[in-house]
């Protein structure tokens, strides 16, 4: 595709991904509240209150971030200053870079280049790495415990994430996300989508800290976990990168496992439906589950995710062999 269109779409995707990421996180909060018999962030404010406190709270996650940007930033004396200050920004930069490699309906962005699957998954990993490094540098015990939990969870979640992505790549014989995303679904591919997609969904739970796997942020045990020492702009930057990561994971899931929803512009409505369904599933899992002990979570991953991952690899190889026979 011509470079001018790519540049324009790269500029366009920033606001789009911010808006969608904010909407997704709003939806998770709202659904959570509804499942708990609460109202949650209100969609249409009561008419007598709306002049003072705004007419809607759909943008609540964005307001949280904006407010944090306007606050003072406290840097603890025990922290390793450079790492502590730069980690949130690095995390943000990597999460934004990852977005450029994931297609949006009508916008292939950089996903056409070969090996974009590997680049995108590495960029997402890098962004999460910096949410571990910053807290370690903060010198706070809560930050260290949170970071350790995050690292352990990350290691196991990574396994499912990588295996599920690459089993699709093996089956379709390509490492460019755009090729994977624009291939029409065939019947055996649906089987792969089911198996590898489930693995990816479970990996997503770990990466996005959805309820059974939210021990890094367990507020009642370890204060705010990795984010305990962060405040003001740095915390806001972390939250912003979380919003982008949420968007990146959802769009990557749709691109890889539900082709061709993120190829042509005409698929936009189906893309939206798929995204909302995915968020709904995440919210359901979030409310239905209590938090795991970290040890039990690891065991659970080994018991459920590893067999699933192996199964999806077997399906993928069967696929390749089938190709060869034909």
């Amino acid at each position: 595709m011509d470079p001018l269109f790519t540049i324009i779409s790269i500029i366009l995707i920033l606001p789009i991904s911010l808006v969608l990421g904010v909407l997704y996180s709003f939806l998770i909060r709202k659904l959570n509240a509804r499942f708990q018999w609460r109202v949650g962030p209100i969609i249409r404010m009561y008419s007598d209150l709306s002049p003072v406190i705004g007419s809607t709270r759909i943008w609540q996650p964005l307001y949280d971030i904006l407010k944090l940007m306007g606050k003072d930033t406290v840097i603890p004396g025990s922290a390793h200053k450079k790492l502590f200050v730069y980690s949130p920004y690095m995390s943000l930069i990597f999460s934004i870079l990852a977005i450029f490699f994931i297609p949006f309906p009508g916008m292939p962005l950089l996903s056409e280049i070969p090996y974009s699957l590997i680049i995108a998954s590495y960029l997402i990993i890098a962004s999460i790495m910096f949410t571990i490094l910053g807290p370690v540098a903060s010198g706070s015990p809560w930050g260290a415990i949170g970071a350790r939990r995050e690292a352990e969870l990350f290691l196991v979640a990574e396994l499912g994430f990588v295996v599920s992505l690459f089993s699709v790549a093996i089956a379709k014989n390509s490492l460019s996300i755009w090729t994977l995303a624009s291939n029409m679904e065939s019947l055996p591919a649906i089987l792969l989508t089911l198996v590898a997609g489930t693995t990816m969904f479970v990996a997503m739970l770990g990466k996005l800290h959805i309820k059974p796997f939210d021990m890094p942020e367990a507020e009642c045990e370890i204060v705010a976990g990795p984010y305990t020492e962060y405040s003001g702009k740095l915390l806001g930057t972390y939250f912003l990168s979380k919003v982008f990561i949420l968007y990146a994971m959802v769009s990557l899931f749709i691109a890889i496992f539900l082709p061709p929803f993120s190829s042509g512009f005409i698929w936009l409505p189906l893309y939206a439906v798929a995204a909302v369904l995915l968020i709904f599933l995440l919210a359901v899992v979030q409310v239905l589950n209590p938090r795991y002990l970290i040890r039990k979570a690891l065991l659970w991953y080994l018991k459920i995710v590893v067999p699933l991952a192996i199964l999806s690899l077997i399906v993928a190889f069967a696929f390749v062999l089938g190709w060869m026979v034909v």
Partner: protein, 152 residues
């Protein structure tokens, strides 16, 4: 009003500091944030670290042993910040406060140590009163935020 200052009104985060009361006020404070009144409708959230907070909700009178902690938690909350004192104890020491002879263990109200912006009297105040106090706190927060922005 700038967008950041508006965001301050839209998303106040509370840190609940229990100093040394009888726990009555804490129960009411938590009731004010629980599903029945659901403060998340307006973006109010309870946070676990004082570094994330905008509004410090203190309950109970301050025991002498607790003085350094109260000061430290107050200093950890980044500017702009507001302190809401909930309950008779936090407002004026209530029945635990003695001037002469001085109580051997209890210092008295929180405003002897840190500047308090909003007082919510009552023993214990009802959740509606606490929410009203928090709303007053939010309005003060916006004022302070506007002053801070003007200074920069």
């Amino acid at each position: 009003m700038g967008i950041i200052n508006r965001a301050r009104i839209y998303s106040p985060w509370l840190y609940h500091m229990h100093c040394g009361g009888c726990n009555g006020c804490d129960i009411e404070t938590l009731a004010a944030l629980a599903p029945r009144f659901d403060a998340e409708r307006f973006g109010i959230q309870l946070v676990a670290s004082p570094r994330h907070a905008d509004i410090l909700v203190t309950t109970g009178c301050v025991p002498k042993q607790f003085i350094p902690m109260v000061k430290r938690v107050y200093e950890q909350v980044p500017d702009p910040k507001v302190v809401v004192a909930v309950g008779g104890c936090a407002c004026g020491g209530s029945l635990f406060y003695d001037e002469d002879p001085e109580n051997y263990a209890i210092l008295g109200s929180a405003d002897l140590l840190i500047p308090v912006d909003v007082y919510v009297p009552g023993c214990a105040p009802k959740p509606e009163q606490i929410i009203n106090g928090i709303v007053q706190g939010i309005l003060k927060l916006a004022e302070k935020g506007a002053k801070k922005d003007a200074k920069q």
